[in-house]
Assembly symmetry: C2
Homo-oligomer: 458 residues x 2
């Protein structure tokens, strides 16, 4: 069996068993069952528990052995020793296994031994394991959701092209929740935890050739096989943008977890070098990561770092220009011909330059003219439109107008719209059109930088 094909049981299963399923709403296995149902998984779902006839309206089986065929994917969210015991006794019925349960390697010597037993099973039998100590998979392409956080606490993102691979479950969760709130969809999300078998490299192999995935974002604490990682990442980044964050970059951040700080600090340099070699765009923090996810989830990559800034407020335009310059983007002056055209096309109260300030007298039509002339000038790779929503002539159609001018050029358009409640409400209109919205000049610039770097290796 091809390694990559062996992951189809996770990303394209026909049947899923929830082992130890419970009808009690407070149990993880119950929440997971509900998550699966809510996600709309169209294959068979088998709750497994000898105590019940049915759970959540699904026929319950007494054990995995009662199933007629092998189950493609089995989920475990029970005590660690019992998990290992059950996998061992029913291994011939299993293909893919996700172990949500903690109490393994992270918790002491007994847990380490249990992980050893799992590794032995993977070596001896044709099964694959994600986890333990993870949240598993959230997949809008195959409609799978193994996350045990109830819907009222965590909004699931809609379908999109961005896939996320994360060693930390809580990091993946927080990012997904924030993306959902920003109207950005995802394709496949994998929280892989302790990595007894399936690694970030396995996931990269899969996603590289996955038609549902247009870009990949990774959260990495540690990589076990550096060479394999560089190979898998390079293959993937050759086909689609890949960004990654290495958590624990600073000595202090890692000193809590590991005593030999000197070694760790050195190790980070190795990660940096590996990212560079593999064509991965490294991002340096949570905000960078979220910004990258937002633009990669919505925009075409930029061909370079030349950005035109169009604004209706002088102060905010200057702030974006300052941030862009500090971030290494090119706030290139208007080409002479374009400047001349714009002086014709715009009223005299506008400041024709970069930033291009339409002032508080801005209208949708002026934004449209400014965006069209600059993006089609050949002088810019993308645009940031700062829209303070004070100007009375701006209407709710502004987003539609801007998107209509940007899309035909194939160049990314980023919205920068800081403010309070009124602004937040109006920003939803931009989001509904699939435009990336940032609420600070620095945020917009973080997004622009990721587009420039993934597009051009800059």
């Amino acid at each position: 069996m091809q390694r990559r094909d062996s992951l189809d049981c996770f990303f394209n299963p026909r049947s899923i068993a929830v082992v130890g399923a419970s009808p009690e709403g407070s149990k993880l296995s119950n929440i997971i069952l509900k998550s699966l149902k809510n996600a709309g998984f169209s294959g068979d779902i088998y709750p497994i528990n000898p105590k019940y006839d049915s759970i959540e309206g699904l026929k319950c089986h007494g054990s995995l052995d009662e199933l007629e065929e092998k189950v493609d994917l089995a989920l475990f969210a029970m005590g660690a020793p019992r998990t290992v015991e059950l996998i061992k006794s029913s291994v011939h019925k299993l293909k893919g296994v996700i172990i949500i349960s903690g109490g393994f390697g992270e918790s002491g010597p007994e847990g380490v031994a249990l992980e050893g037993a799992l590794r032995a099973l993977v070596n001896e039998h044709p099964i694959r394991i994600i986890g333990p100590n993870c949240l598993g998979i959230y997949d809008t392409a195959s409609k799978i959701d193994t996350f045990f956080i109830p819907a009222e606490r965590f909004t699931r993102p809609a379908r999109g092209g961005l896939s996320i691979i994360s060693q930390s479950g809580s990091f993946a969760l927080t990012v997904m929740d924030e993306l959902a709130s920003a109207g950005i969809g995802v394709s496949r999300v994998v929280s892989y935890g302790n990595m007894v078998d399936v690694s970030e490299s396995d996931c990269l192999d899969y996603l590289a050739d996955d038609e549902s995935t247009s870009a990949v974002a990774m959260y990495i604490e540690s990589v076990s096989d550096g060479k394999r990682f560089v190979k898998a990442a390079a293959a993937c980044s050759g086909k689609k943008p890949v960004i990654a964050i290495k958590a624990g970059r600073s000595r202090v951040a890692t000193s809590a977890a590991l005593s030999h700080t000197g070694a760790i600090a050195g190790r980070y340099e190795l990660y940096r070098a590996a990212f560079r070699k593999a064509g991965i765009v490294e991002v340096m923090g949570y905000e960078d990561f979220i910004s990258g996810c937002k633009v990669l989830g919505l925009c075409p990559p930029a061909a370079g770092g030349r950005v035109i800034i169009i604004t209706d407020g002088g102060g905010i335009g200057v702030s974006i220009a300052d941030a862009a310059a500090a971030g290494g983007l090119d706030v290139a002056p208007l080409p002479a011909k374009t400047a001349a055209e714009l002086k014709e096309a715009l009223p005299s109260f506008c400041t024709v330059g970069n930033p291009l300030d339409l002032t508080g007298s801005a209208t949708n039509e002026l934004y449209a003219r400014a965006l069209e002339k600059t993006l089609s000038s050949g002088g810019y790779d993308m645009a940031i439109a700062a829209t303070l929503l004070g100007p009375p002539a701006l209407t709710d159609d502004l987003g539609k107008t801007l998107a209509g001018k940007a899309r035909p050029t194939g160049k990314p358009l980023i919205i920068c719209s800081p403010g309070g409640e009124y602004t937040k409400k109006k920003n939803r209109l931009f989001m509904e059109l699939g435009l990336p919205v940032f609420t600070s000049p620095e945020g917009a610039v973080r997004g622009a930088k990721v587009l420039a770097r993934t597009g051009k290796g800059f």
Copy 2:
């Protein structure tokens, strides 16, 4: 008359005239009248317009000359030439004047000449002028609001201790709107525009001895009298924290406005030096500015940069530690005695270190113990509590519990709580308690840095 006292007409007027007041809802003068009424100004408000008997329920006067006494503060939001004409003809009736109107120095030679006429009036008569081309004053201490943005588009902040001095009206507006949305109050806000008379230094003089102001945040594009600025700023920063942003730091950001870029780039270095000399903490962007406003509006200054990070999610704790280290804060290890006490006081699943990870099994009580022991240890100047709201045992009382432990220590507590809709809703509970809430590790660190720098000159 003392220079400082001469600003009482702006910050403590007994009467305010709105010259050219209109009953039409779309006119700036009408919105300003409504703003003043909504703000609850308790002195006399005089709409001035010969065409009407009353506007917005207030008796209307035909001209300033009809008033029996001098008016403390007169507002103008009409055409530039007419504004100058009216001020000239009624100058004996005026003390403070705010000229909202544009069309002055920023718009060409005719406007420059009009500004010259205004300067002559200030030199010859005992009047003071704020503006032109500004939004004027928003003041929760004296209940004045001259901002012409309707209430439904712009949420006014409640009363607080932070005062803001801004050359850019739109910048001030956006910041205030965002602060209001974060539950943070302000004291006095001045948008001073073209500065024909009252300058940032005049405002600093006033705010230095203003009991309603506990901290000052400034947005500066240019300063006309550098020596006076350093003197005024040093006097103010000796009494309360002062932060400032210089807009147009980069060559590109200023090249649009001014052609001699080399001179400008050099000039920024002069601003940096002036800030340093004056004891002003310079912030480098919009996010930095907002973060500084949030913490200065709510927290005591920190005695230094030693920060304890308490979290319920490993990934987010490491991200905060990475950001703090990158920002030059001291993520100091736990003092040995405190570490020993915490190992006693916390369950074994907690990671006792800095970051201190309470894990997904965190409870309010565990947060309370961790915060109390670390802040009282003598090892830390402030705390960042990262609260991912997934852990089922955390209740809505978490904020109250945390604030109750932090307040007696006199040390700042910053909340870091990233996520989506559920998190945003729960974050309001922290805000209502007067805790500064940031939705990213980097945001929390920006806030912590401003507290450390304003407290210790770090």
